[in-house]
Each structure stands twice: as C-alpha cells, then as structure tokens.
Symmetry: C2
Subunit: 398 residues, 2 copies
C-alpha cells in the first residue's frame, strides 16, 4: 500500500502555482481574494504566486470587480495569447498541425499530404510541419503536442508501434525535442481526441467519458474519474483490433477479422468497391474503382440501397463494440468523432440502437451515443490540450 | 474543474488517524518514529493518534525493536481480534456468511440454502444468517459487509435490480442496519471479489486488476489505479449481459444471447442436459436430467468428449469477452474466480488462448489470465474488506 510522500517545499510551491493558474484559467476574471478562498491558500501565498504569473505574462490585471464593502478588488485573467502551442495530428491521409492559443483557438494551420510525390519519409514530413509552425509563431511557443495512431508510450514520447507509418520503437518525442529545443508530449490520437472533448467540449464534461474515433482506423480514448486512463501499456481504447469476425478479412495489424476490418470508413470503402459491380441498381456501380470516402458518404446520404446496407451494418458493428464497452465500464456518455461522423444521423441512430439493444437494459437505456462537436481538429486540439496540461497544469486531465 | 476543498481540522484528524492505522496495519510491527517518518506527520501528532488507537484496543504495544543508538523503540501492531466483521455472500444456491477478523481470517461460517423447504423468503434468510453470526461473535462487531449479485447502489446500500432474488430497489443496507444497529455496506458480488483479490490476494497487486467471477452468472470487478471502478451507475463489470449470440437463448435478464447464456456454469449444465441424450458415447447420456455442476465437472475432468466440446466452447466465449476487455482497458492481470474454476487448467488454457488470439498481439501477449487464490470465500472476504475499508480505512481500495 503506497503512502503519500511528504512533499518538498519546492514541489508544494510548483503544485500551488499550477493550482492558482488553473483557478484563474477556469474563470473569465477573478480577484486574488477569491483565488485564496477557492484554493484554500493564504492571501500571502496567492499574492506571491500571482506576482510570478504577472511577471511571466501568463496572467494580467483587467480592472476592478464589485466591491463587497471595502475597495473594489483588482481582477485577474489568463492572457490567451501569452503563449502559443503547436499541435499535430499524424493520423489520416495528411499530417495536419496548428498553432493554438491557451484557450484552444486555432491561430494558423498547416498540412503535409502523407503520400507526397517528393519521396520524403513520414518523419521528414513531421519535421517540415513542425519547422513551418514553430517558425511562423508570433508568440513564445510553450511546446509541441502530438497525437498519432498506434501504441504510444506517452511517458517517454515513444511510438511503440504504428502500422500506418511503419514505425516501431521510434523516439518521436525526443527527436522533435532535439530539433526544436522545445518540450514535446506525444499521445495516441484517440487519447488526444478524448482530451479535446473533455477539455474543450461544449457541454460540461461528466467524470467518465469515452471518445471513439472512427476514420481509417478505430480507437477510443477513455476518461475515468476525470483522468485519461491509458492502461498498463498505453493500449487502453485499442478496440479496433479486437476480433469480431471468425476467419474474417486480414487486418493491417496482422490479425484477421478485427473490428477495423468491418466498421472503419476504410472498410466501408473497400466493401463498396467489392460489391458495387454486382449491384447494377446502385449509383456506385458505374465506377467501382473510383469509390472513395467522399463518394461513399454521398451515396449513403442519397439513400443508395447498397450504401445503406454496407454503412448501416458497419454502424451496427460499432454498436456491438460499444455495448461491450458499456458492459465493461458503465460509462453513460460515448462521443463519436472522426470521418465516420460524415455519415450523419442515420449512422449514429443505427450505432446507438445496437449499443442499447445489446446492453443490460438498466445500463443501455441511460447511455448516450453522440457525435462530438469538434470533428476535423479534434486531435490537433487534444494534442495541444495534452501539452498545456503537462506544462502548465491547465486541466485536471493528465 | 473541481478544486481541492480546504479540509476542516476534524477531517484532517480523521484522515490522519486512518493513515496511522493503515501504516501500522501494513506492517507486522512498527515504532512511532517509523510511523512518523512514513506518514510525514509530526511525532507529536503520531503519539496523540496512537494513544487513541491504544485506548480503542485496535492497536497494542508488542515489546521493543532494534535500537538505532538511543533507547530501543516500543513497537506497535494492529490486534487482529480487536474487532470482528460479518461478511455475507448472497450469490449461489446458498447464502453464506462468516465472522472475519481484521486480517481476513475466517473465525466462523454459516449457511442458509436459498431454496429452503420452510418457505421463507430470501430476505428472511438474510436476517436469520445475520442474527446467527452477529449473535455468535465473541468480539465487538465493526459492521456487516454484503456482496450480492445484481446492480447495487453501493453508496446507499440499495439493490437496484437482482434477477436471481427478484429484488428491485430494495434498501438492503438500511434494513440490516435497522435490525442490527450496525454499519452495513453492500456491493455487487463481483466487485466484492475484486476487493478480496486486491486486498488479500497472495501476490502484490498491480495498480490495475480485473477479477471475473464465473458461476451461475458472469460478472467482473475492475480495479483501476488502485481503486474499484463502479461506472456511472454501479454497473461496471456487468459483462455477463452483453449480447454475444444473435437470436440466442433467452437470458434471465429478459434479453437473449447474453454471454451468461453460453458461458456460465449454469449454461454449461443446461447445454449438457440438452445434448446428452443425442450422445450415447458420453458418460452423461445415462442420466441427462441428473446432470448438475458436480457431474459436469467430473465428466470434463474425466475427458468425456461431449463435456469437452461444451466446456471448452464456453471457455472460448469467456476468452472473447476478455479480449474485448483487454482491448478496452489494456489491463494485464485478469483473475478468474467462482465455480468455473473447478474445470481446472484446460478450461483456463482455452480461455487464455482465445483472449490472446483475439487481442492486438502487443497487448495480448502480456496479458495474464489466472485463477484466483481464494475461491469459495472470495465474496465473503471481499464484503469484509469493503466494510473494513469504509469503516477503518484499512486499504486504499474504496
């Protein structure tokens, strides 16, 4: 049984500094007295810590609040542009990145198509993207956050295994840190998406939240008791590679019949290409080889019967996986992000229906399956949230 | 974002008293000076808190330790018999209970067959079991811990739904507390089993642990970061009622094709009764209606081919559910308890093999699926651990 270790004075001060910053960050404006009241710290401590934050430029004084008898107190707020953060998303067909301010606002974006004609390797493209964004920053850059598919050791910033990029035991964080001299934090892209929904989501976040990202692959980020849960080896949420079909299609992970092979957007496209020639009534039959995500979505939204069959079956497979998650965790709020959200409400309704049908009624009936708010930028924002959290303690999510 | 509230003096004192008791409990014998060093509390505080514990009889002085220069220090230890706890297990065909000491040693057991001929209702049997055990206690009884199947609101002690006992919204904890005047804590039986394995398991417990109980029903208790995870509505671990067979057999939960209908010991017995008449070569064909758990286990251990087919397929179904858990949580240690453990190593190997086959290799290969140490008494011990934890803070598991 672990015991709380006695904190050193320095650790206590750093902890309290983050507590004060977070308290100011969580409100539009707040007085020193209210910070002291909310944190339980003495006024003297708060004044000393606030003085440091003012010196660093992270916090500024913004006029006076309501008087409660005596002199009206000076109010403090975090300066959104005091620092910028670079967030990267290495999933999908392009690497994307952005400069993000402390409030999660995107200041500038950049992109590198993964299959570029110039023969550059993925890592060179990451360097190029980082160089452009760090070089373009108009404010001090706090660091770089990266969300990338695969098994990521988020403590060391090592990509243990990423099949889409053919990376294995790549010390990505160290490589970028050496190149830029900046702090770098790396996480699985679905985990980053969960941080984004938890930190920047529009509604107040419940303590427990599952964010499922469905695009070329399928993965989940799980927030339990307000903290990202990574599992024993950073593999929590790897639901895309659980076998769901006996002797099914080969998966890029090396196994067969994984959830990804039947329910990802990539699987939908493959299946439509395979079936379209045999379905002359489908609008997709004209050019089966030309079917891509966009055309699959168009056909489904137009009510094409072949697209209906394939897309709704994929949604039901997702629902089955979600029912297993509901049974395991009894987490009521499940947020879907990624390319699959383009299939819209009928996809969502099919996934939701299957989730509830296959769950214990008392649990399933209270489970919400919804689309996330931030779709395209969710990983970039989550990677930024990761960086801000680890460097400034701006959120309780770790 | 929640902020730590400033603790009152009284809360701090109660917290520190539990910290001191736990520190003494975790060691065979310890000096006041070492308690102070390990807890970070002052010697003065420790001496005052230890004086209270000595007065209460929970702690005693047991001679002197090694001198480290000055006078050899007096050593302290928890008195295992200072208090007793009553633990109950309301799963299975009998209600069982025990008087348990503070070290988890069973002092006296009692049992009430559920389908008694005297027509008494389940709740009357619980009362009778409690009365016997509380009445027989030779030491002050700290309280009563109860593990019971179903959805249990462990904060209020309410059985929200327990299909085996036909209970719905039953305030079990309050009813027993009123009858006895003692503190009562209630939890799902699989959750209690997880507490038992975490608290009394022979090996040092990892931070994350899944305990799967497979008997008449199937359920799991999930310990994450050293704490029992209950989910949003106390339904975490209800993996037995996730649908695994399309249009499968009816389940007692009202649904069809649940994991319980194909992989529980009850399902194995039902399936053997159904198939035995058509398999004259099986030793079970002689008396299909007489097949019960004991005969099913005997036939399997004797290598009967029909029993082999049915039992190993059930084990593989369990493995599939475990693979979904591994994908969701990446918890490396999975402990199986309950009646299914009687099927022994071949059942375990089949479940383990299927778990690994169906998991992402990098996650599956490091996953251990093992039998728990404490099989019959696991829920009684877990219910006792729950009570000790909540009343004395004797474990970090909550």
């Amino acid at each position: 049984v672990p015991l709380p270790e006695k904190a050193t004075h320095q650790q206590t001060r750093a902890f309290n500094a983050q507590l004060v910053l977070r308290t100011i960050y969580d409100r539009p404006a707040i007085s020193r007295a209210d910070v002291a009241r909310l944190t339980g710290l003495t006024r003297t401590s708060v004044s000393a810590l606030v003085a440091e934050l003012l010196d660093s430029g992270l916090v500024q004084e913004v006029g006076r609040g309501q008087s409660t008898g005596g002199k009206a107190p000076i109010l403090l707020r975090v300066v959104p542009d005091a620092r910028h953060v670079v967030g990267l998303d290495l999933g999908g067909g392009s690497f994307t990145g952005a400069i993000v301010d402390l409030r999660g606002r995107i200041v500038r974006s950049a992109e590198r198509p993964l299959r570029a004609d110039d023969g550059r390797q993925p890592l060179e493209l990451v360097f190029s993207l980082v160089d452009e964004l760090v070089g373009a920053a108009q404010r001090p850059v706090l660091g770089i956050g990266i969300g990338t598919p695969g098994l990521i050791d988020s403590e060391t910033g090592t990509v243990r295994w990423a099949v889409n990029l053919d990376w294995s035991e790549l010390p990505l964080g160290d490589l970028i840190a050496e190149r830029t001299g900046l702090p770098v934090h790396v996480a699985n892209d679905s985990h980053a998406a969960a941080l984004a929904e938890y930190t920047f989501g529009s509604e107040p976040s419940p303590d427990n939240l599952v964010v499922v990202m469905i695009g070329r692959g399928i993965g989940a980020g799980i927030v339990l008791n307000g903290q990202l849960f990574s599992g024993d080896a950073f593999g929590a949420g790897e639901i895309g590679h659980t076998t769901v079909v006996e002797a099914g299609e080969p998966c890029r992970c090396g196994s067969v019949g994984c959830l990804e092979t039947v329910a990802s957007v990539r699987a939908i496209v493959d299946r439509l290409r395979h079936l379209a020639p045999r379905h002359p009534g489908s609008i997709l039959a004209r050019d089966p080889d030309g079917i891509d995500e966009t055309r699959a979505v168009q056909a489904f939204l137009a009510g094409d019967p072949l697209a209906d069959d394939v897309v709704l079956e994929a949604a039901r497979q997702v629902g089955r996986a979600l029912a297993a998650l509901v049974g395991a965790l009894n987490v009521r709020r499940i947020v879907v992000v990624g390319a699959a959200t383009a299939f819209g409400d009928r996809w969502l309704e099919a996934a939701r229906h299957e989730t509830r049908e296959r769950s214990l009624p008392l649990l399933g009936r209270d489970t919400e399956v919804v689309f996330g708010r931030s779709r395209d930028d969710v990983v970039v924002l989550g990677a930024s949230a990761l960086l801000m959290t680890r460097e400034l303690g701006l959120s309780l999510v770790r």
